[in-house]
């Protein structure tokens, strides 16, 4: 067994002496530093009896030397070399950031977060403006929109989303009908379930659920794709070649989501209505023919127009938010994840806020 680090303390006539023994290394340090700290002034440190020393051992010696103004004797060439390497003053080398009080930090966090939201909103608006300008330039220069890119995105955003959006809307239609029927039955008015399903689906829920799904599927994909392109400097490469990233990356994506949204929204509404119809047929014994006839009587045309007006706006919003967050990626891969998350959160939040505005606006137009 090799001796662990230890020391002998000798309170001699010309000041106290510490004589280290054993191996002065990290693995065998044990409680030596703690015991050293308890000692009074030390005049000399004797290293002649140690078996080995590493940088941690040398640091312990250096620390004691600096603290007590002790001098070192009996150092082997190896120990001497290590001590030399550590001799310079290391006190200016910082390890932690400045610590502040929790209240101060909390206030700072609230402030930073508020500013961040404000800047994010400004950024999205600014980005939207830049995109419009890019579109203007493209039109003025008579360059065609990159339809190939648009169609590719169209596939990813629209066609590939059909199964999941269809299934989701169908189930939501069933849920609305079932929950509505339970309440309306109490008044013997279960036939009004058709009104509920038909109008809610077409006017609000079909499109809203689609927007949430597209934001989650495609908004996030836009942010992640563009973010990765930023990291690999593809976007910079594009700029140096003279291709505008707005034109090549952003516009096709926003165009695709803008065109896709009304189609998907309408499709989702129909699926929800079918779901409600199935429940009415099975649960309330309303035959499909009656269901469809009743729908034609109660759904005004403007419900459909409202959906058609809202859908492209939501599409632009989701596309712009996703592309904006992707373009903001700098530095590292971690940021891609963070930006993708905020693309989804911001898009869904903004969609719901805008939807509320639309609801109030169309009601005051008298489109009830």
């Amino acid at each position: 067994m090799v001796a662990r680090a230890d020391f002998e303390y000798d309170d001699g006539a010309d000041g106290a002496a510490v004589r280290f023994t054993g191996r002065l290394t990290l693995a065998r340090l044990g409680d030596v530093p703690a015991r050293l700290d308890e000692l009074g002034p030390i005049a000399t440190i004797d290293l002649s009896a140690i078996e080995r020393i590493d940088t941690v051992g040398a640091w312990i010696v250096t620390r004691t030397v600096n603290e007590h103004g002790a001098k070192v004797i009996g150092a082997s060439p190896e120990a001497h070399r290590l001590l030399e390497a550590l001799r310079e003053d290391k006190s200016e080398y910082a390890v932690h950031r400045d610590r502040r009080s929790p209240i101060e930090r909390m206030l700072e966090q609230v402030g930073t977060a508020t500013l961040a939201i404000w800047h994010e909103l400004l950024g999205i608006v600014g980005f939207f403006g830049a995109m419009i300008i890019a579109l203007g330039i493209q039109i003025r220069a008579r360059r065609r929109l990159r339809w190939n890119a648009v169609v590719t995105r169209f596939q990813a955003v629209g066609v590939d989303a059909l199964p999941i959006i269809g299934l989701m809307s169908f189930l939501i239609g069933i849920v609305i009908a079932q929950q509505g029927a339970v309440q309306l039955e109490q008044f013997g008015l279960e036939v009004f379930t058709i009104n509920l399903v038909g109008r809610a689906s077409l006017r609000e829920l079909g499109l809203l659920m689609t927007a949430i799904m597209v934001a989650g599927r495609s908004g996030s994909a836009f942010a992640a794709q563009i973010g990765t392109m930023k990291l690999t400097e593809e976007v910079d490469a594009m700029r140096t070649i003279g291709v505008s990233p707005m034109e090549a990356i952003v516009l096709p994506r926003v165009a695709a989501s803008t065109i896709t949204m009304p189609l998907l929204g309408f499709y989702a509404s129909i699926c929800a209505i079918i779901g409600g119809g199935v429940f009415c047929w099975v649960g309330l014994e309303i035959p499909p023919l009656t269901y469809v006839q009743r729908l034609r009587e109660i759904i005004p045309m403007h419900d459909f127009y409202i959906m058609l007006i809202k859908a492209p706006v939501f599409g632009i919003l989701i596309g712009v938010t996703g592309c904006y967050e992707g373009m903001q990626v700098r530095q590292n891969a971690e940021e891609v994840g963070r930006r993708t998350t905020s693309a989804v959160v911001a898009a869904i939040f903004l969609v719901i806020v805008l939807d509320a505005f639309f609801a109030v606006f169309f009601s005051s137009l008298g489109w009830n």
Partner: protein
């Protein structure tokens, strides 16, 4: 101090006896190593010895499996065949978790991209191995150790609290080196330490490695593409080609061999430039 803690320390010390680097002539011995991915054979019947206390440079063309070799030695890649001994121990036959931890604290690895933990500051990165192996070190000593390690690898005084994302490429490499050196290992693995650095930064890094190896008595296993690094730091060079180590020796020894790849490597335009530059420096000093 309580008896319990003392008993614990005694156990820890006994465990530390298992590997004693200074008693070995060879830090690493590889015999008959075979690595393959599917049908692609990277290494076949590869032998290599790394002497204690030397800096061994490993060179080879792209795709000759330099990094794979490093990964097999440190146990990140399980070889298909063959034996790798590090300080007399074979990683894949060590069943005991304690024993393998024991071996792991004898080495430090610096990955090509630094591989710093991105959620931790530089100082915290350096403290990770220390905390893992010596959980009882107090925070003050940990901070002091982190501070002098930062100084030792030549980082500026304000680098400790910074996060990896805030560092330049050269600083990330230095911080990676500081973390690799955290436990005062006997054996240091460096994967392309100067790749991506400018010539001045690379030369400084070479100096740093040479200096640290001399001060701390390190054995270094160094993978590089950089001819200047070979001339400036390495005691011996191992050449990887044809799925094995075709030659090991000092650079003059390698130059004396007939192998076409070695001749092309050292006598190509870049090889000659590095060599002549090195000779001028030697004459000056």
């Amino acid at each position: 101090m309580s008896d319990e803690v003392q008993a614990e320390i005694r156990e820890e010390l006994a465990a530390a006896e298992a590997v004693r680097p200074e008693t070995f002539e060879f830090a690493i011995r590889i015999r008959g190593l075979r690595n393959q991915f599917g049908d692609a054979v990277i290494h076949d019947n590869l032998d290599l010895d790394v002497r204690s206390g030397e800096i061994l440079g490993v060179v080879g063309g792209s795709g000759t499996g330099k990094s794979v070799l490093l990964r097999s030695i440190v146990g990140l890649q399980i070889p298909a065949e063959g034996e790798i001994e590090v300080y007399g121990k074979t990683l894949d036959t060590i069943a005991d978790e304690e024993e393998s931890r024991d071996l792991r604290r004898r080495w430090g690895v610096m990955f090509q991209g630094g591989a710093l933990f991105s959620t931790l500051s530089v100082a915290e990165n350096i403290q990770v191995p220390l905390r893992e192996y010596y959980p009882r070190l107090d925070q003050k000593l940990l901070d002091e150790i982190a501070a002098y390690k930062v100084a030792m690898v030549g980082l500026p005084p304000d680098a400790g609290p910074k996060y990896p994302a805030e560092l330049s490429g050269g600083m990330v490499k230095r911080a990676g080196l500081a973390r690799a050196l955290a436990l005062d290992p006997a054996l240091l693995f460096l994967d392309e330490p100067t790749a991506g650095l400018d010539p001045i930064g690379a030369a400084k890094f070479d100096e740093l490695i040479r200096g640290l190896a001399d001060t701390m008595g390190l054995t270094v296993f160094l993978i590089t593409h950089d001819l200047d690094t070979l001339y400036a730091t390495c005691d011996r060079v191992a050449v990887l080609a044809e799925k094995r180590v075709i030659a090991v020796g000092t650079i003059p020894e390698l130059l004396a061999t007939e192998h076409p790849w070695i001749q092309e490597y050292f006598n190509g335009p870049r090889g000659r430039a590095a060599s002549s530059c090195n000779q001028t420096q030697d004459r000056k000093s």
